[in-house]
């Protein structure tokens, strides 16, 4: 009995000790309990945990001002490009199947007050470039709580109407995944990589060079980014995606041999 009691106490003591090699302020990434498998098509703006690829997203995009139909049509190529980029980066696993454009959602709004803008049906807000008064930021992703208070879900993208391709795919990368990592105030989506070591300037979340890709690490193919150990609790983009989305895969080719599925579009124009 004595050895048994001692063993039990030892286990309790060992559990109370931090893991060897870890850091005091480092929090391990959480692995979410997989919910029931999700259909590959839904109205979801970001990929639900437990989804199976390929998964299509639906985005509601609102222009703050009352703009002509032609102004909405002019944004379509950028969102089609973004869907193609998302399809490429995810190696044919995620794309945007439908965009719903509307206008006049917040006349006069400026980007600097984005956190007070309540647009409960929207995932993306487009400001006129003249109202984008938060430069040098070129696009933003807001994460907020409780869910749905400032947008359709717990996140929203804000961009000016002259946002460039790389800005859109960068913000879409923040937005697309529902990640469970925790640590130094990480968002529930991909974070900006550039603040923390080690550097990976080729990651879209970093300096945004071509070819487009997210960083990978650990035992993943094409590893170029080791797990961060600066106390952020974060690791490479693909490592965290793989943790939260075990049904998704990453082969390291950062492209897809199949064409991006078509995107449907809806325009709702205020007179």
């Amino acid at each position: 009995m004595r050895p048994l009691r001692a063993t039990l106490l030892l286990c309790a003591a060992a559990a109370a000790l931090p893991a060897c090699g870890g850091h005091k302020d480092e929090q391990p990434a959480l692995v979410a309990t997989p919910p029931p498998a999700t259909s590959s098509s839904s109205d979801a703006p970001s990929v639900p945990v437990g989804a199976t690829p390929p998964f299509s997203l639906v985005w509601n995009v609102g222009f703050t001002e009352n703009v002509p139909m032609s102004a909405m049509e002019a944004q379509l190529p950028k969102f089609i490009q973004m869907s193609q980029d998302l399809w490429t980066i995810t190696e044919g696993q995620v794309w945007i199947s439908r965009i719903r454009f509307s206008d006049n959602v917040a006349p006069g709004a400026e980007a600097s007050s984005s956190e007070t803008l309540r647009v409960p049906n929207l995932d993306v807000v487009i400001y006129p470039a003249g109202k984008w008064n938060v430069a040098p930021v070129t696009g933003e992703t807001l994460f907020f709580s409780p869910s749905g208070t400032l947008g359709r879900t717990n996140r929203r993208i804000d961009v000016p109407d002259n946002a460039q391709r790389l800005t859109l795919i960068h913000e879409a990368s923040h937005f697309a995944w529902q990640l469970s990592w925790s640590g130094n105030n990480l968002p529930p989506g991909l974070d900006d990589e550039y603040v923390y070591s080690p550097d990976d300037p080729a990651c879209i979340m970093d300096l945004m060079f071509l070819p487009l890709r997210w960083c990978s690490g650990g035992a993943l193919p094409s590893a170029n980014h080791v797990t961060k150990n600066g106390g952020q609790g974060a690791q490479s983009c693909w490592e965290q995606i793989k943790l939260d989305y075990p049904n998704f895969s990453y082969s390291g080719i950062n492209t897809s041999s199949s064409a991006t599925p078509a995107m449907a579009v809806e325009y709702s124009d205020t007179p």
Binding site: H23, V134, Y196, L210, A264
Partner: protein, 392 residues
Amino acid sequence: MRSRLKTLGWILAAVAPLALVWGLSHPRRHPLQASRPSAATRSAPKREAPAPESARSEAATLSGELIDAEQRPVAGALVTLVDPEGRGDVLLAGRAKEFRDRDEKTDERGRFRFAALRPGTRLLIARPEGRPPVWTEPFFVEGKQHRVLTLPAPLSLTGLTHPRAKLSFTCRVPGLPHAGHRPVVVVATADDAGGYRVDGLLPPATPFAVFVEAPGYRTRSFGPYQFPAGRHIVDFDLDTGLSLRGTVRDGAGRPVQGALLAYDDARAVSEADGSFLLSGLEERSTTLIVAREGHIQTVLNAVRPGSIDVTLFRAAEVTGKVSGGRGRYLCFTVGDARYRLGLGDSDDFRIPAVPPGPLRLEVEDEEHRLLGSAIIHAPEGGVVEGVEILLR
């Protein structure tokens, strides 16, 4: 009692090795000991030895001077005091919402000064016109501090690339987030013969990458490079990639001039004979979008490089009225696109652009329920007047 002591002995004997291993893997540092950056933490903001709490809560002042390698003052240079924790592109509870970077220009003696600073981690970047930038590592600002920034010896690059190519030399400043702060980028444009020359590039030995764009070629990034001070020759050669050529015509077969074509990053405008050429393409299927004022935007999916003829219909105009009730939207569908035009308070409507041919116009309520419809036949580029849609 004796048996409990024995049990305690067992526990201590078992726990001691674990505690030893843990202790070895967590080297203790004195709180005031400046940590030496490891490879893994080199760009994380570092704090110098913190001052007593009372000093740290007081407003700080940072002065400094910018000099060149010969110790001469550099006047008129933009100096940015960067707060790496300022607003970025991710807004999240607990992250800063304010931009905290501050700019000053050096005076004739190369001096600059930032007053009324909240103590915290900062870094300095000086960008003198036509000369290489210089920056500090992140440091902790408190009390009164003075920093001297010395411009590095010049690093120049020259070489050949493609005519009128745009070259962007980008480097990472350790500790400087990309979003929310002005990046350190030097841009140059090649001449008509493809030659380029950049003097006073980045500080020597700074890793940098070069992003090269040229009309008709596939955009590409090169690097990272790292050069000592001096003049270096580097050529940048881009692939022509594949091309997509064709003609844009309206529904009657007439060429359409001035149509904008978009295919990935490639853009082209159709010529007077409707012809176009998109080059620098990758071998893959992607979407071709063709648009022109007064025409119906055309989206063609799964197009590969090669050749294609595009039909870009001239838009027709439709006017009419809704009777028998009040609808919210007047709607129609073109391919994968659904158009909803708000009806407003008037019963009359005008649709400036519909595609030619048979088209079903529908009236929906706020919840997109169908209230009524009518089928029209629009002539290409023409007008349909007097359409009446009777609501149920």
